[in-house]
């Protein structure tokens, strides 16, 4: 034993202490601190999003209207790029060098090692060439996405379109990531949550070069994408197509509803555009062109436009008169035609017809003085303490007809129109002491009234149903999608309807709307002409048929087309015939041809539907 042998203990202690420190450190790293676990997952897992196919859209007869097609996005992982033949890539893609470099810079700023979209929606022909050359460009790859494919070239206003989500939307809703598609207008927007489906994810294991090495736990934690829900529309696409043919080179809106159900059979906003323009390579350019078109194809003339309803409104005035008992079906008023009739303090012009007229004849001839008289009786009704109270009661009644509100929850861009309140007139007329004559225009559907064509079509439904309407809707509800359809009773018992309907029958058979007559079908109609300070009057007709058990109620509104009888009535008649009879009779072929060929706009639309 030497004198230093005690040092074996010191040396052993040093070894034990170091091992002890390491074990404590390992205990801390492996058991107490779980941040390494997260970092390891971040390192080695790549979550690949599985995009679901968007729901399909069918018409009422099961015809496929909107489906999906593959689009090809050129993706890039900037870190993996190696010097490449820029010229060749540019010529394959048909891009400008600046655009490519600019996009590349944008991708690089997003992330150097994550994939981002360099060029989106590459056309199939370019994709085919690119696919073969892609091996020369490390860091670039193609991601297949689904975009919309339309089997019709019209009705873009119904479907709407999809586009990439905005930054604000991403921040609001965690379902979206940059580059995702979202419904921007129309049904694509309203039914976004149903149509989009649920994104799935596939967890892949990657190595240090981001190369895929296999699936994570053999796909145990993968989530498959859930396909979006399909929509069945209430539209009859054949009728829709026919209506668009009639409406070519005209501006206006047509909307038809099945009165018993509230199903929208027809929704035409002319000029329309081909929905296909909103997808693919040129969508930006196309959108810009549509936006600057003076005929405003992007403007929805069926629900987004509100006009004075004109003489179609007389039907509701007549009903109220009967209900309030200020008139009876046999009440008559004289009319001096163009010579203008003196009623109290005012004089009202009309077109020349027999005089005096009773209720039925007033609707048949669309007599203006008759309704001025009715209006006077309504507002000077002794039931009410004053004109303002009488007006308030009238307004409440009129609003129950689905006015001054939106009707169809399927659209987000529907306007509510306007029935002015008492307070509005107090303010406008600068007195609370106003008289019936001050707002006399309302009697014949002019003045401050604003109705959408949908509301006029809904009025037709109420008349057809003799006192109620079903919630108008364009997506047929089922267990999981669609809006709740409710029955709305109007503030007018059904017993008052027959005299008014008789008047509409007279108008359609021997009166102002006789141009819509069809063999062996009893049609009820009321024309209207809305004064337009900017040009020719707008031509309107509100129509339903057959009189008993009505199958279709419709509003046709054509801008700058003059009297209701000139265009709106024959077009409405042709659509009714097509729907009710299935075809156009030979004696109406000439009319059909004339309607299709007539041109009421100077500039032809970008894409004639």
């Amino acid at each position: 034993m030497d004198k230093y042998s005690y040092r074996k203990n010191i040396i052993s202690t040093i070894v034990i202490v170091v091992c002890g420190i390491y074990l404590v450190r390992l205990f801390n790293m492996q058991i107490l601190d779980d941040s390494y676990q997260h970092q390891a997952l971040q390192n080695s897992r790549r979550i690949e999003v599985q995009y679901p196919a968007r729901g399909l859209i069918f018409d009422r007869n099961g015809k496929l209207l909107v489906e999906n097609q593959s689009a090809y996005d050129l993706m890039v992982i900037p870190r993996q790029i190696q010097p490449f033949d820029t010229l060749e890539l540019l010529s394959v893609l048909g891009l400008e060098k600046e655009t490519l470099l600019h996009n590349l810079e944008r991708c690089r700023r997003y992330s150097t090692f994550k994939a981002s979209t360099l060029v989106s929606q590459i056309p199939a022909d370019k994709y085919a060439i690119l696919q073969e050359k892609l091996y020369k460009y490390p860091g670039f790859f193609i991601q297949t996405r689904t975009v919309r494919k339309y089997n019709v070239s019209h009705s873009a206003d119904v479907f709407g379109y999809i586009g990439e989500v905005s930054q604000a939307q991403i921040e609001q809703d965690t379902n979206y990531a940059p580059g995702d598609y979202i419904g921007i207008s129309g049904l694509e927007k309203t039914y976004e949550t149903d149509l989009r489906g649920t994104k799935g994810e596939k967890i892949l294991l990657v190595d240090n070069h981001n190369r895929v090495m296999g699936s994570y736990y053999n796909g145990k934690y993968d989530k498959p994408a859930v396909v979006g829900k399909d929509l069945t529309l209430t539209l009859d696409i054949d009728l829709q197509e026919y209506a668009y043919r009639l409406m070519q080179n005209k501006k206006g809106g047509i909307i038809a509803i099945e009165p018993s159900t509230g199903e929208i059979l027809l929704k035409v906003s002319a000029p329309g555009y081909d929905p296909q323009l909103m997808i693919g390579w040129d969508r930006g350019k196309n959108y810009h062109q549509l936006e600057s078109d003076p005929n405003q194809p992007l403007f929805d003339r069926t629900i987004g436009a509100a006009y004075p309803p004109g003489s179609t409104f007389k039907t509701l005035q007549a009903l109220y008169g009967l209900k309030e008992k200020v008139i009876t079906p046999s009440t008559s008023f004289p009319c001096q035609g163009t010579a203008k009739t003196q009623i109290g303090p005012i004089r009202m012009g009309c077109h020349n017809h027999e005089s005096p007229v009773n209720l039925r004849e007033s609707l048949q001839h669309s007599c203006n003085p008759y309704y001025v008289n009715v209006w006077r009786r309504i507002l000077e009704n002794e039931k009410y303490p004053g004109v303002r109270d009488a007006y308030a009661a009238w307004r409440e009644y009129i609003c129950s007809f689905g006015l001054n509100r939106t009707l169809c929850p399927d659209f987000s861009n529907e306007r509510s129109g306007s029935i002015p309140s008492v307070e509005f007139y107090d303010k406008m007329l600068r007195t609370k002491n106003w008289r019936w004559s001050y707002i006399m225009s309302l009697s014949i559907g002019q003045g401050e009234l604003l109705l959408t064509p949908l509301q006029i079509a809904n009025m037709a439904c109420i008349l057809a149903n003799r006192g109620y309407y079903m919630t108008p809707h364009i997506v047929r509800p089922n267990a999981s999608t669609g809006t709740r359809v409710e029955k709305h009773l109007v503030d007018c018992p059904s017993e008052y309807f027959p005299p008014v309907i008789e008047g509409m029958v007279a108008a359609a058979s021997i009166g102002t709307a006789r141009g819509a007559a069809i063999d062996s079908v009893e049609i009820c109609a009321k024309t209207g002409t809305a004064q337009n300070p900017h040009g020719d009057d707008h031509s309107i007709v509100m129509i339903f048929a057959p009189k008993e058990k009505p199958r279709i109620a419709m509003a046709v509104y054509i801008e700058n087309a003059g009297f209701g009888a000139r265009y709106a009535v024959p077009i409405a008649g042709l659509i009714l015939e097509k729907y009710l009879k299935g075809d156009i009779s030979p004696e109406h072929k000439a009319l059909e041809k004339r309607m299709i060929e007539s041109n009421l706009i100077d500039t032809p639309p970008v894409s004639a539907p």
């Binding site: 074996k8 070894v15 091992c19 390491y22 790293m29 058991i31 390494y36 390891a40 390192n43 190595d207």
Partner: protein, 473 residues
């Protein structure tokens, strides 16, 4: 009892069992680290785990061979073996091939041999030879120079091969020397030097100098027990430095703040020397000398650091968190820590480690093999491996102490110290406690040279130990 059965009975089977366990763990984890479904057979000779099996087989042959050699061979031929290996270290400088910036490999028919690995056992033999000589006294200057020379020759040659990490291993002989009589303060001094080294790398020489001067002032206060002197001295240094700094800015001198500070401290030191001369204060002299030595060491380290290879600088900086950039220099350690840390208590399971299998960890079968153990076997696996090493080292210390031959004892301590250094540095670097120095984990890391060298190192001692009862000296 014949000679063979006596040998078998005297062999230390505990050490051999630990050795076998470590080698087996190493082989399994090399397989896991480079696992690839296309080559899933653990015996596939084209893959490193297949090759490692070959190295293990040959290592066993080597071990058996060593056990059959007469133990006197090693004592007698220790110096010739040392000379031979040193010559091969020189030869590799000329005939060697370069790999990863180091020219330290012989390429013999496709098989690469790294002589530096064999330097360890040769040096160990030579040191044992010298120290065990009759009349050797460790604390004699001549002895220290001789031992130092024996260590510096291989270390220097390996540094010339550009493999500083392997050269640092020779510092582990300090433990052997300490056991054989080296003064304890030298070991302490080494500890302080390492501390200053780390401080200097973390902070600039200027900051370290401020810390040291304040330390010296406090020591001065401690010895003198006079607050007035302490405050005066402190104010003198602070105000003079502020004055000089002001002058420097005003006159736009091109001198560093460090120089200004040291000039001020030199003035203060002069005053101190005057003190010592007048009052014979030995303690003040000690404080002055110690502080100037430390300042010198700090500046020296800083200067030396500038001379290091960029990757070595980065590796040292890594440990100290100076450049904490996960995609830059700190990448290796960061990934290594992620792999080990993500293992949890019981690990992700054999072949389930994503970090090591998918190459996030560099050198995962050689220097960073511990990551695979940490990731796939968790804390339990780490504890087992560390426990096995601890048991082996303590066993070796115990065995060294039971040797009658002085040569065998020194050699045994050499083996224990070398293993300890490798284990401490290798595991320490994978868990971010030691700078990344590229040395293997004994018996576990992939590589023929390393496995062979450690096997030879260990089995020579086992051979000597088996013979312990027959040697008297």
């Amino acid at each position: 009892m014949n000679r063979e059965t006596k040998l078998l009975k005297n062999i230390d089977w505990v050490a051999i069992l630990i050795y076998l366990a470590l080698v087996f763990i190493g082989w399994l984890n090399i397989y896991a680290a480079v696992y690839d479904e296309n080559h899933s057979s653990i015996f596939d000779i084209t893959q490193s785990y297949g090759k490692q099996l070959m190295w293990i087989g040959t290592a066993f042959v080597l071990a058996t061979f060593i056990m059959l050699i007469d133990s006197k061979f090693f004592t007698t031929f220790s110096i010739p073996i040392y000379v031979l290996v040193m010559l091969s270290l020189m030869a590799v400088l000329v005939f060697g091939v370069e790999s990863k910036g180091a020219r330290s490999w012989f390429d013999i028919g496709g098989i690469r041999i790294q002589p530096a690995e064999f330097g360890k056992f040769a040096t160990c033999l030579a040191i044992a030879n010298v120290i065990s000589r009759h009349g050797f006294k460790m604390m004699r200057l001549g002895s220290l120079c001789l031992v130092g020379l024996l260590l510096l020759i291989p270390a220097g040659l390996i540094i010339l091969q550009n493999d500083t990490g392997s050269a640092l291993v020779y510092s582990s002989f300090l433990l052997v020397m300490y056991r054989e009589g080296l003064h304890g303060s030298i070991l302490l001094l080494c500890f302080i030097v390492v501390l200053i080294f780390i401080l200097t790398l973390l902070y600039s020489s200027f900051v370290v100098s401020i810390i040291l001067i304040i330390g010296a002032l406090i020591a001065f206060l401690y010895y003198r027990q006079n607050r007035g002197e302490f405050y005066r001295l402190f104010l003198f240094i602070a105000l003079s430095f502020a004055l000089l700094k002001g002058l420097k800015i005003w006159l736009d001198w091109q001198v560093s703040d460090l120089r200004l500070l040291l000039s001020v401290y030199a003035l203060a030191s002069l005053a101190g020397i005057f003190f010592i001369y007048k009052r014979k204060m030995k303690s003040v002299l000690f404080v002055l000398l110690a502080s100037w030595t430390c300042i010198g060491a700090s500046i020296g380290v800083n200067t030396a650091f500038e001379q290091l290879q960029p990757h070595q600088k980065d590796r040292i900086n890594d440990l100290l968190g100076i450049e904490n950039d996960p995609t830059g220099a700190g990448y290796n350690v960061n990934q290594s820590k992620i792999a080990i840390g993500s293992g949890g208590f019981s690990g992700k399971g054999f072949l389930e480690g994503t970090q090591t299998k998918y190459n996030f960890v560099p050198e995962q079968s050689t220097d960073f093999i511990f990551c695979t153990i940490g990731e796939e076997w968790g804390f339990i696996g780490c504890a087992v491996v560390i426990g096995l090493f601890l048991a082996l080292i303590l066993r070796l210390v115990k065995m060294a102490e039971r040797q009658r031959s002085h040569f065998s004892r020194v050699y045994g301590y050499g083996v224990a110290s070398i293993l300890f250094f490798h284990v401490a540095v290798n595991i320490g670097m994978t868990i971010g406690m030691v700078p990344v120095i590229g040395i293997p984990l004994p018996f576990l890391s992939y590589g023929g040279s390393s496995l062979w060298a450690f096997t030879i190192l260990l089995f020579i001692f086992l051979r000597l130990d088996a013979n312990r009862l027959q040697v008297f000296s």
